[in-house]
């Protein structure tokens, strides 16, 4: 190697851009070594940076020094090199690579930093234990798939900001050290040193602050905000997550929903190039539950729930007849051309729906001429069978599934069964992105454990004006001015028109069993703010991690978060959370009573 260091030169190109038009150029590349192959006296290395891969060749005829040093190069060595672009010999080109027509003959190079053998292979990816990936996240992120996910997330955020900026929104930062209001999920607390015995809470969302900004006359606010919930991490949750949070003054439902449709269409287009067809269809909560069993319906396929209570009321099948007589609900879904399901499949599905409270799963396979094949067939007259077939549009090769129970169980279990069938039969394959709105949610739901009504969204959601009187007399009937945005069966956003009148807010707190005193203590500042000319306002938050994961085609949000936590809310890389020095606790006036 000569006196002049390659690293002192300007990098001229990325590893993802050189082509035949560059043949003959002198270039400076920097990146990481992938495969090294020694072949015919030459050493071939695939050099990777974030933009792509370029094959570089160390030839002893070009530079003896460079060639012999190249023998030491191993996977993930960080390298700078200078060389000349050459066309690859015939038969050696790689049409799968942008740079596959060329290679760089190295004149000079430096190893900027060597690497130990990585704990897992970055190329020819095979599934690696996720804990290992997270512990060595800095290696995991070097994989092009992971970089693509970060890039997609970046583009999605940039698109959101651009669109909202263009629509008159102000990005405003709200506090992270805020007040604990143990309503909803569990807060993460932050002990105060200046006021020992007092605590801040990390925000579960900027909800109150964005409402205060509307009261402050900002009119249109947004923030891509980190939020925190100290929940048990079932499923695919993270203790900290990100939402695109927005709020608007002087609006009604349609204003927020129209704006949001433009927002997601722009995000999808700029992040993935796909067109979202607008307007996004809307259905009420009642319709979603009735047709799909769930409030976040996957509308990419049929398999809708159909009520048959009236038909089965006359059947000899006791379970259904009794259910109908007791005023319970009997519904069915038609698994179109799914009759090939085996006995074992059906047993699996029965146990699957049991998780959602179903006490069993009656099924009927449809044979030629609509004949039923089923353990329960004998309890149904041929006329009744035909009537049910007709209502469900059942033909040979179909399979019917029945649920009979209280409505909540029937809807939940058949709704989940519907998704499980779609998964097994790949009904969503290549279906792309399908959005829908669900509107007119119930204002409250009854918490059986605590024997009280709870806000279904949050206690700042406005009830419909015409339902105000029901708040005290029949709260379960009150509809909220709330709306959820659903993408491919996942809730990716939710919002509402908020309460802006102090008397209505007080009524809602009362309906939720929050005493005046408690309301004052927790939300006194909000109630007071409402008395100073608060404007009508509403907004929405998009679950950004989930949205990006769906756009990236990733099953888990952890794949689109640079440094996620495990299901135990720990970070295998930094080993957070960890013990701290006794002096730190002393300053906070705290003692650990119980430790793992």
């Amino acid at each position: 190697m000569s006196e002049q260091f390659v690293y002192d030169l300007k990098r001229t190109h990325s590893c993802g851009e050189l082509g035949l038009e560059d043949v003959g150029s002198q270039v400076v590349l920097m990146g990481w070594a992938m495969r090294r192959r020694d072949h015919g006296g030459l050493i071939f290395v695939d050099l990777r940076d974030r933009e792509g891969i370029t094959q570089v060749v160390f030839n002893p005829e070009v530079d003896e020094g460079a060639h012999s040093g190249a023998h030491t190069i191993r996977s993930e060595f960080c390298i700078a090199l200078k060389g000349t672009v050459r066309e690859r010999p015939e038969g050696m080109t790689n049409p799968n690579l942008v740079t596959g027509g060329i290679e760089v003959y190295v004149d000079q190079f430096e190893i900027l930093n060597p690497s130990k053998t990585p704990p897992f292979m970055l190329e020819e990816w095979i599934e690696v234990n996720e804990n290992i990936r997270l512990k060595y996240r800095y290696l995991d992120l070097r994989r092009p798939e992971m970089y693509a996910n970060l890039m997609l997330r970046h583009k999605a955020a940039a698109a959101a900001r651009r669109y909202l900026n263009e629509n008159g929104f102000l990005e405003v930062e709200t506090p992270f050290l805020t007040k604990s209001t143990p309503e909803g999920a569990r807060d993460y607390l932050v002990p105060s040193r200046v006021s020992p015995g007092s605590f801040y809470a990390l925000p579960q969302s900027p909800q109150l602050f964005k409402q205060l900004l509307m009261m402050g006359g900002v009119e249109r606010y947004y923030q891509i905000a980190r939020c925190f919930r100290d929940e048990d991490l079932r499923a695919d949750r993270q203790p900290e997550f990100t939402q695109v949070d927005l709020e608007m003054s002087f609006v009604a439902e349609d204003d927020v929903m129209d704006l949001t449709e433009g927002l997601v269409a722009n995000i999808v287009m700029e992040a993935t190039g796909q067109q979202v067809s607008l307007p996004v269809p809307r259905m009420t909560y009642d319709e979603a539950i009735s047709r799909y069993g769930l409030d976040a319906p996957d509308v990419r396929f049929g398999l809708e729930l159909t009520e048959v209570t009236d038909l089965v009321a006359g059947a000899e099948f006791k379970l259904f007849a009794t259910a109908a007589a007791k005023g319970l609900l009997v519904k069915a879904i038609n698994g179109k051309q799914m009759a090939a399901l085996s006995r074992k499949d059906l047993d699996d599905l029965t146990s699957y729906v049991a998780d959602f409270g179903a006490k069993g799963l009656a099924w009927v396979k449809i044979k030629p001429q609509g004949e039923w094949q089923s353990p329960i067939a004998k309890f149904f007259t041929p006329e009744l069978q035909q009537a049910i077939n007709q209502r469900l549009d059942a033909v040979e090769g179909d399979i019917l599934f029945f649920g009979a129970d209280v409505p909540a169980v029937v809807h939940e279990s058949l709704g989940r069964l519907r998704l499980e069938l779609a998964r097994r039969f790949e009904l969503n394959k290549d279906k792309g992105l399908t959005f829908c709105w669900v509107t007119e949610f119930p204002m409250v739901e009854y918490n059986q454990d605590e024997k009280r009504w709870e806000a279904m969204h949050h206690p700042f959601t406005s009830p419909r004006q015409e339902d105000l009187e029901l708040l005290t007399s029949d709260p379960g009937k009150v509809k909220a001015r709330a709306y959820d945005l659903v993408l491919n069966g996942s809730e990716v956003g939710g919002g509402s028109i908020r309460i802006h009148r102090p008397d209505v807010q007080a009524q809602v707190f009362a309906a939720l069993g929050i005493s005046d005193e408690e309301a004052q203590e927790k939300f006194g500042f909000l109630l007071e703010a409402l008395t100073y000319g608060a404007p009508p306002h509403g907004g929405l938050a998009l679950g950004f991690d989930r949205l990006v994961a769906i756009l990236a085609g990733e099953p888990s949000i952890r794949e689109v978060i640079a440094f996620p936590k495990t299901q135990k809310a720990s970070c295998p890389l930094t080993e957070a959370p960890s013990r701290v020095a006794a002096s730190q606790l002393l300053e906070l006036g705290l003692r650990v009573e119980k430790a793992d």
Copy 2:
């Protein structure tokens, strides 16, 4: 009022845009009432929204109902109205207002929400106790000045993002729940419920994560990141603050500094319309201290420090002569044409510099023919007086100030005196924005209390290659590859080229007296990450609150933060921090030992 609600109509205009070209148009406005004046049977109200103010007129001849209802309107009532734009009568126009040529004659209106009398006036602003402003921040933010600050901040953030996006940077979100590394400032801790006795820490900066992203091959990262430091809030600090955080791979100092200059020029242009002249001048740390006494010099004016140790060594003035003999430093600044300072002024200045360790402040007023007027004049021969005059370019009307002590005290006290003189004589008035870079900071400084060397920036800052050997032999002489960006005498940014080689990182930890064991425990994951081909990298963080405050011409960063904390780290609006439920602490396994 008619059956149709005004609020159901679309708002057609903001309160800041109607002009003579709109005369005759039907418009719908929404906003807040300011002054109400009853005059000649008409009621005049200034309606304000975030865009401006429009005068609206309730005329009983137009709508009897609207007019009588208008009597109830008070300050800060939130109102929707429909009306017709009319030219104001001659003599009634207001040239100070965009909309000052017109008024809106109201056909119909609604009070969307009444308001109690605000605790302070929003118009004709008089200084209000800041605690009251913060308690009613939602009213304070309605003032056009505050909205302008939020808008400026929004524009600055948007400009930063646009520029960085265009320069190949990825916005990546790093964790808030991370590991406590009690290096530098005090961490805010977050107790873990899943692992009782363990704690997360809120990040003091995303420093380690951005370095890990470079090791992960991201190459160019940025984030407008909230950071947290549990420090005593002297001066103008906040427990949570925002920085524009960026990091780049395969770079040296010039790359980061050039990029940053483009960044701040874009921010300044888009937020304020001002042009920053590039390149930003650079000076070394040693030069900054020598000429200005401080490492964040205000270079908008002269009053530089000049050494006179050699000259005063021969004076009869014991203090100076002894100082010179002991190898201490004697410096002076020339207060050009400031000799009119009174005895009281000089006493004040003497007590001012005493705060920075100066044991006194010798001064000399220059009379005709360069004659000295000063208590110490008699200890200096006329020749010596002339020699000093000459070196300091002193002429009649000037006043010289001297400092004689260890260099640190001389520089700090004269450096501060320099700023105080500039403040008193308004030397910076209308001087605009002046940036400069300070480079080649010392790697370490000696902590007298703890008798050990400490990192001046942070322990991941790279020493200069040529100084590596001094790390063990003479650490105080090692220069770091660090640079600060200074704007009008305030540090608004700082960064460095980082260490990317594990052996160098280990050497630096050793020089800082961090044992191998301690380094492993705190930064083991970083040391390990360096062994897997970490690329050379460096970056910078801009103090976004301070930068925006300077651009807004605000003395305090609290004026550019929507919901700031007080000096006691509390929020007068939400009353955070606050007591929490015993059950919350029980779940965390914590007990409060000491409470306020």
